[in-house]
């Protein structure tokens, strides 16, 4: 194996690999920064280019787009409170507050360093532990996934704000919104009022932009003296080593959380980011600062959502099963190169595959440099004066809402969720549980239905004897949530 790794290392040490990776990272970052244009879209578009490149050039190129894109997504989340994916929602919480305080560069730097740290650590861990992870992934069936999802949403709802009832209400409301459309098991219409337009459900992106960005934009729009002012006049200092060191504990904790969540199929980056954030808030001595511009909050969310990436590659590499859409595209890239992911991949194509994995680690390091150099340029955006920035941001918001499904009605959905966001903030309801409920509603219900089907009518017997882990997690949930809550809101 060591020989193969060394051979792989030499395969990647070529100029074009690094050149294409750099292009991919930078391009991915730019696309990720445009709301509505997801990394996934960018990868699908660039996939054909990788067909015509050498495997150790083409696949690292796509991976570069992916990694760049994830970080790119946190740029608008921090600067204009506009998360492009569920994964960036937790970053928005503190990132935008930092921007308003004139610390946007620090926030972006922190996002970059913690992303790269989380990603690299989980990549290396995955590389070393690929066999046990591959075994573990298969142990999670729908009942366990249902239990873990329930635990995550309940914990987040109960700990999100001062009033746990409000968090749970928003969670249930989010679940309700996720019901609109076709049900995930039978495909039957629900809450569509007979409108075909609603059959596909409520789109995620207009919901996110509406809930997070519009209330902030409207605050600026409504201000009587907006005129020539801008969101923040100063970009602030860059991140200092001392600040990074202060957050290192948080970053490590989030990396572990993210990696574990990455192993469980079907949870994904959003759960990781939110759980990492909650854990950091729980451990922090200055809990009340979270949500008001705490650097640790950005670090916790970003390290966690990037740490998911390593383990999600495992089912792809060892079984040839793509766990999500991103890995499905990577699968396409692999097979078009004549590399068939699966149990035989390492024995047949060892050096090339190790080469690709090593290139992944190099990509992370290279991205530190590229990101660090680009941040000042991005940060400058917020110094544009409001009567030019707001129209621009609005244009990106509506175009992003449209592009997601090519449906002009989604712009109306955007406006509706903008209003919901404003009402929620006026009545002091946290929107995070709503987003969690909305995003996880479909997988939660699917796992619920699958578990019921698997039980085949004998629910209690099935749960207790065949799936004791599910029962244990579900029973522990209320106690765990209550404990965390007590610790967080002790006063």
């Amino acid at each position: 194996m060591l020989e193969q790794i060394i051979e792989g290392l030499f395969l990647t040490l070529r100029v074009d690999t690094f050149a294409f990776m750099a292009i991919g990272l930078f391009g991915g970052m730019l696309v990720g920064a445009l709301p509505g244009f997801t990394t996934l879209m960018a990868m699908a578009i660039l996939l054909p280019i990788s067909f015509f490149l050498d495997p150790v050039v083409g696949i690292p190129f796509l991976l570069g787009v992916y990694k760049g894109g994830i970080f790119g997504g946190s740029i608008p989340a921090i600067l204009v409170s506009m998360p492009g994916t569920g994964a960036a929602v937790a970053t928005t919480a503190d990132g935008y507050q930092l921007t308003k305080k004139g610390k946007s560069r620090k926030a972006l730097d922190m996002a970059l360093f913690s992303s790269v740290f989380g990603d690299t650590a989980s990549d290396i861990f995955t590389l070393l532990m690929i066999v046990p992870i591959a075994y573990l992934v298969l142990q999670f069936g729908p009942p366990e996934i249902f239990a873990i999802l329930t635990m995550s949403v309940v914990i987040v709802a109960v700990t999100a704000g001062k009033n746990p009832l409000k968090g749970l209400i928003m969670l249930a409301f989010g679940l309700w919104i996720s019901f609109i459309g076709s049900d995930p098991i039978g495909g039957m219409e629900r809450f569509t009022f007979g409108l075909f337009e609603l059959r596909g459900g409520i789109p995620l992106l207009p919901l996110l932009i509406g809930l997070f960005a519009l209330p902030e934009i409207v605050k600026i729009v409504g201000r009587t003296n907006v005129g020539e002012a801008s969101v923040a006049t100063i970009l602030g200092e860059r991140l200092t080593l001392a600040e990074f060191k202060r957050c290192l504990r948080t970053i490590c904790r989030s990396t572990v959380i993210g990696t574990c969540i990455g192993i469980i199929p079907g949870l994904g980056q959003m759960v990781a980011a939110v759980m990492g954030y909650t854990a950091a808030k729980n451990a922090s001595p200055v809990k009340e600062n979270f949500g008001k511009g705490e650097l640790e909050g950005v670090a916790a969310a970003e390290a966690a959502n990037n740490a998911v990436n390593g383990p999600t590659m495992v089912p792809l590499l060892t079984l040839g099963i793509p766990g999500d859409n991103v890995t499905a595209i990577l699968l396409g890239a692999f097979v078009a190169q004549g590399l068939r992911p699966g149990p035989t991949l390492f024995s047949e194509q060892g050096p090339v595959v190790f080469g690709i994995l090593i290139a992944m680690v190099f990509a992370n390091l290279m991205f530190l440099v590229i990101g660090y150099l680009s941040i000042p340029a991005f940060a400058r955006i917020i110094t544009i004066r409001s009567n030019l920035l707001v129209p621009l941001v609005t244009m990106f918001a509506v175009a992003g809402a449209y592009v997601y499904r090519s449906n002009p009605n989604d712009i109306i959905v955007l406006a509706i969720f903008g209003v919901i966001g404003i009402i929620a903030s006026a009545a002091k309801f946290e929107v995070m549980p709503l987003v969690m409920g909305f995003i996880l509603g479909v997988p939660l219900e699917r796992a619920f239905g699958q578990s019921l089907s698997l039980a085949n009518g004998e629910i209690l017997q099935f749960a207790i004897f065949e799936r004791p882990a599910m029962v244990a997690i579900l029973v522990a949930t209320p106690f765990l949530a209550w404990m965390l809550r007590k610790k967080m809101y002790a006063d």
């Binding site: 696309v31 244009f37 879209m41 578009i45 001062k162 009033n163 409000k166 749970l168 209400i169 249930a172 409301f173 679940l175 309700w176 019901f179 049900d183 098991i185 039978g186 039957m188 219409e189 629900r190 809450f191 409207v218 605050k219 600026i220 729009v221 409504g222 201000r223 009587t224 005129g227 008001k292 009567n387 030019l388 707001v390 129209p391 621009l392 609005t394 244009m395 990106f396 509506v398 175009a399 449209y402 592009v403 090519s406 002009p408 009605n409 989604d410 712009i411 109306i412 955007l414 406006a415 903008g418 209003v419 009402i423 929620a424 006026a426 009545a427 002091k428 309801f429 619920f448 089907s453």
Partner: protein, 174 residues
Amino acid sequence: MVKKAELYVTSGIAVMSVLALVFLNDLIAKQKMIFGQPSIEPDLFPALTISCLLLLVGGLMVKIIFFAETEVFDDQDNEEAEDQSYYRIGSYFAAMLAYGIFLDDLGFVISSCLLVAFISFLLGSRSFVQTLALAVIAPVALYVVSTRGLKVHLPELDVIERAIQTVFQVLGLS
């Protein structure tokens, strides 16, 4: 102020939940039986969730009404809420809705151009030239990047699409 808003929101949700539960059968299509095997009904999970929601909302309402003061909030946000111009906020949303309605008919570039110019003037932009330049350049740039670079579809009038195509051909980029 906050308490009033809280009450409005909770009663709104409560009314919606009750209505949804009453009319659940009309709002959710019946599952088609497959092999006569009743797999999970599409209304099971929603019925559970909405019932929970109703209980929670009821609990919160009791708390708000009978246990007087809700939480004390720090005043950070309240400062920002000083005199907001509802006229401008209303116009902003109206512009967005109009954009959604006319996007397919006017095409991306023209609608975005109008939207950008409108919001910019709404926010008190005084420089006509600068605003106009932004309103033309930004949509065209985004359109070109989206459709050419990112290969995604945006609605556009044939005239403008052809014009852009022509420019590309003249520049030898197509």
